[in-house]
């Protein structure tokens, strides 16, 4: 944790309110996000109990699996989910704009510009917490290799149509969320935690109720008390007043409310199956419906508070203006969405179970590059983030106190102005260290020359933490002998230089998968279409 984050947490403890750690919003928020609040069943991985889902705050759709171990009911749930999520995704697939992309021409091997479509907006999935992101990934993995009756009529237990497709999309959302700075799938606790520091640990921040209690304590309470109440307060039946944001549920809820309700449902189902005549069946169907409705009520009672908190959190985030580079990062999300849309339309198979060597290396390289880009862009967009970097000695801001024009040696002398900056920031600059400032959105580089010996100002008698740094500006001044207007800071200007680069260099191109070298197992061979997940005993409990 950075020093400034630690200070913000200490301040939050002493004031009882979360402290902002950002002055702008660093993630894109869609006008119409799809909020997904899933619940899972204890004891079985990937057995959904239900979910609230939708893009209309006032009209969430409730989906419930009355008996979570029943595979037919689970598939029915997933099919219903697909009927909500896929039309939402499709609504973004058709509005496109023309864009250019560099591609390698297969005949000449040269890089050429190609006209392609780029979706003008992309869907956005919001889940309450980090565990929700994992759950999306898990659901995606459990669905994308299912086969429908249409694809494979012989296999027993076919999945309803569109379920494998939903699996592929959820997998894509889950995989994209691993890219730093991406916004296709966001966990609300993570986004809130990026913008506010609370007086509790980051582990405790994963509780959405407690986190919101610090950021916006209800009434006149302090954050600590409100957070404690959100975590622990129970009603007279022993149930949490603020149910956990899931997907896991509170054991007291499971034991005292859910288990009896599911037992009642099971009994009603067995009884209905054993009904001997129509009249008896009608009665027992009534009981089954009532039992089912009771479970629906229970699931709603545990998801609705979270649903409301998610929207409350989104409101808080929307109050912040969007950071300058957020749009650029969202464009990359749109490319990612468009790319997957094209793969689906082209009839490509689902994402493989495991990445091959080249794909894995490419993904890692992309994510490292995006992390570097995100760190730099957040600092450039937000003075509070930059303050943290300055405090860490990775940037410095100050006033220009002197500019001396010098020129490079050589046939065509270029301007190399020496700029003296007075700063209070403590930076560790090595000899000829390169520093960068943002000039019209582009990085301008300078070299550290020396610490100036100030005459009169500063020096032995001056303030202790103040220093004068002499920098030599080396680029972005145009081609002429005299620098272009505005390209060199003037005396009295406030400037901020960073020790980190603003833009990430593209990495080297890795070999194509069919050229995987011997050190990495050689070419993987002809791609074999991945077989569907085989049916196991657990599938037919």
């Amino acid at each position: 944790m950075s020093l400034i984050a630690t200070l913000a947490r200490l301040e939050a403890v002493s004031t009882g309110r979360a402290r902002p750690t950002a002055t702008v919003r660093h993630r894109h928020l869609s006008e119409r996000p799809l909020v997904f609040v899933p619940l899972t069943t204890a004891g079985e991985a990937g057995a959904p109990l239900g979910a609230l889902v939708g893009s209309d705050r006032d009209a969430p759709r409730l989906l419930v699996v009355a008996q979570p171990r029943d595979r037919d009911l689970r598939f029915a749930f997933l099919a219903e989910l697909a009927d909500i999520v896929l039309p939402y995704i499709d609504s973004y697939a058709d509005a496109v704009e023309a864009a250019e992309r560099s591609e390698t021409d297969p005949e000449t091997g040269k890089r050429v510009k190609v006209e392609v479509e780029l979706c003008s907006d992309a869907p956005q999935l919001i889940v309450p917490s980090r565990a929700g992101v994992e759950y999306v990934r898990l659901l995606g993995r459990s669905m994308r290799f299912r086969r429908t009756a249409e694809q494979d009529p012989q296999t027993p237990y076919p999945a309803p149509p569109r379920v494998p497709l939903l699996g592929r999309w959820l997998t894509h959302f889950g995989e994209r969320s691993r890219v730093p700075g991406s916004s296709l799938l966001l966990a609300l606790t993570e986004v809130l935690g990026r913008h506010w520091a609370t007086g509790q640990s980051s582990l405790e921040d994963q509780h959405l109720g407690a986190l919101l209690a610090w950021i916006a304590p209800p009434g006149g309470d302090g954050g600590a008390e409100a957070a404690l109440r959100a975590e622990l307060a129970r009603d007279d039946k022993g149930q949490l007043l603020c149910p956990p944001a899931g997907p896991a549920t509170d054991p007291a809820f499971d034991n005292k409310l859910l288990a009896p309700a599911i037992e009642r449902y099971d009994r009603a189902r067995t009884a209905l199956a054993a009904a001997e005549d129509g009249l008896q069946a009608d009665d027992r169907l009534g009981e089954l419906t009532a039992a089912e409705r009771a479970i629906h009520e229970l699931v709603l009672s545990r998801t609705l508070p979270t649903w409301e908190k998610v929207w409350q959190g989104l409101d808080l985030l929307r109050e912040l203006p969007e950071g300058a580079h957020v749009e650029e990062r969202w464009t990359r999300d749109r490319w990612s969405f468009t790319g997957h849309r094209d793969r689906v339309v082209a009839g490509e198979p689902p994402q493989p179970r495991r990445d091959d060597a080249v794909t894995a290396a490419n993904k890692l390289a992309t994510r490292e590059r995006e992390q570097g880009r995100l760190d730099a862009q957040e600092a450039l967009d937000d003075p509070l983030v930059m303050a943290g970097r300055r405090l860490a000695g990775e940037a410095f801001a100050g006033e220009v106190v002197d500019v001396v024009m010098t020129y490079s040696e050589g046939k065509r002398p270029s301007p190399r102005p020496l700029v003296t900056v007075r700063t209070d920031d403590r930076t560790h600059l090595g000899e000829r260290a390169r520093v960068f400032r943002s000039l019209g959105g582009k990085p301008q580089a300078a070299e550290f020359v020396r610490r100036a010996d100030p005459d009169g100002a500063g020096g032995e008698d001056g303030p202790e933490d103040e220093s004068l740094l002499v920098l030599r500006i080396v680029d972005k001044m145009g081609r002429g002998k005299e620098p272009e207007e505005g390209s060199v800071p003037e005396k009295g200007d406030r400037v901020c230089f960073t020790l980190f680069e603003h833009e990430q260099r593209g990495g080297a191109k890795l070999p194509d998968p069919e050229d995987t070298p011997w050190t990495h197992g050689g070419p993987p061979g002809e791609p074999v279409p991945e077989t569907a997940d085989s049916v196991t005993e657990e599938d037919t409990l």
């Binding site: 691993r178 990445d355 060597a357 894995a360 290396a361 890692l364 890795l510 070298p517 990495h520």
Partner: protein, 446 residues
Amino acid sequence: MTIEAVFDAGTAATRATDAILRDTLHGTARGVVVDSPPGAGKSTLVVRAALELADAGRPLMVVAQTNAQVDDLVLRLAEKNPELPVGRLHSSDTDAYDKTLDGLPNVRKSAKAGDLAGLPVVISTAAKWAHVKTDEPWRHAIVDEAYQMRSDGLLAVAGLFERALFVGDPGQLDPFAIVGSEQWAGLSYDPSASAVSTLLAHNPDLPQHRLPVSWRLPASAAPLVSDAFYPYTPFRSGTGPGDRALSFGVPSDGSGPDRVIDEAAESGWGLLELPARHTPRTDPEAVRAVASVVRRLLDRGGAATSERSPAPTPLTADRVAVGTAHRDQAAAVRAALAELGVTEVTVDTANRLQGREYDVTVILHPLSGRPDATAFHLETGRLCVLASRHRHACIVVCRAGVTDLLDAYPSTEPVQLGTAVKFPDGWEANHAVLAHLAEHRVGWRP
């Protein structure tokens, strides 16, 4: 005692080197892997293999990890054979290579691989090689510091050569990624794993060799470093207990720093223990203690006697280094040293000290003053690098209570299926080192 141990160190090392060169020059395997403990003559081996391959007329590319390592190799090659044409492939940045290379007539430097085509040896960093395209691969490659190279780095360059000699130290810091890579843990080609682990996972039959003798570490340090960090692949020092000595012209003034310096001069190790306390990372007292030890080391007229020269050589600032875990700690030590008028001493993190060698090192223990023991601070390689940079003595500055801290924080990293478990773990290695240091403890309240 095995038969090998009967031979003297020089013979054992020569035999190992001969076997490596035989496999490299005349073997049939596409790769040869050489594990080298700290200071075991890895660079010497790389230079010798490069010269022999060049002599045999086989075009050779050399892959190192940093520009400093590349420049160092070029200088060593030119020193051994000034006639040999060597290509230094460098980036197009300013100051891409060491300017001393400009004084070597047979070293050609270029940012384009095409300009260096046909030279017997071309050397560059892995990052630069990754951008090179070639129709005809090099017949041979040497990959230096292969354990510090990431698997995806090797993936990018492996298409450039037919066969390769991989040399590195498995005990040093593993490569790392700045983003999570758990999703690939357990895959044989996990891109964040080390190049050697991927190589061996796919080619388990490659010949593997080990350099058995550390020429850097003194007789006082080799057994500890070998036991603590290389328990299954032991090595020994090339010098005996009496071969090296450290003496000081100015007698001790009785202070903590002076007493720990004397202890280290006598035994090769010294632990300057400050009172137990939880502190910020840049613990001001510990930082000042490190700085005063360094100041006294230089002030007391130290002289080092070793097998290299019969006459004692003065212990100057360039022969002393300070090692820390974090960059801000290094910066704090540098500032504290500057206040005491010391500017020439190298102060750096473990990552940057890898491959370097000094007479005396002063290290700030990675766990000193910490309330917790994270995987970063427990990493075996970090302590191993810090404790194996010296030819004469190593002085550790640490808060008391680290053993209790270790006991309170056993390793809890999740176990990933399919990943090789590294032995020893940081917990075990830290305990081994601390147990040894306890015998050379000097308590001090600054």
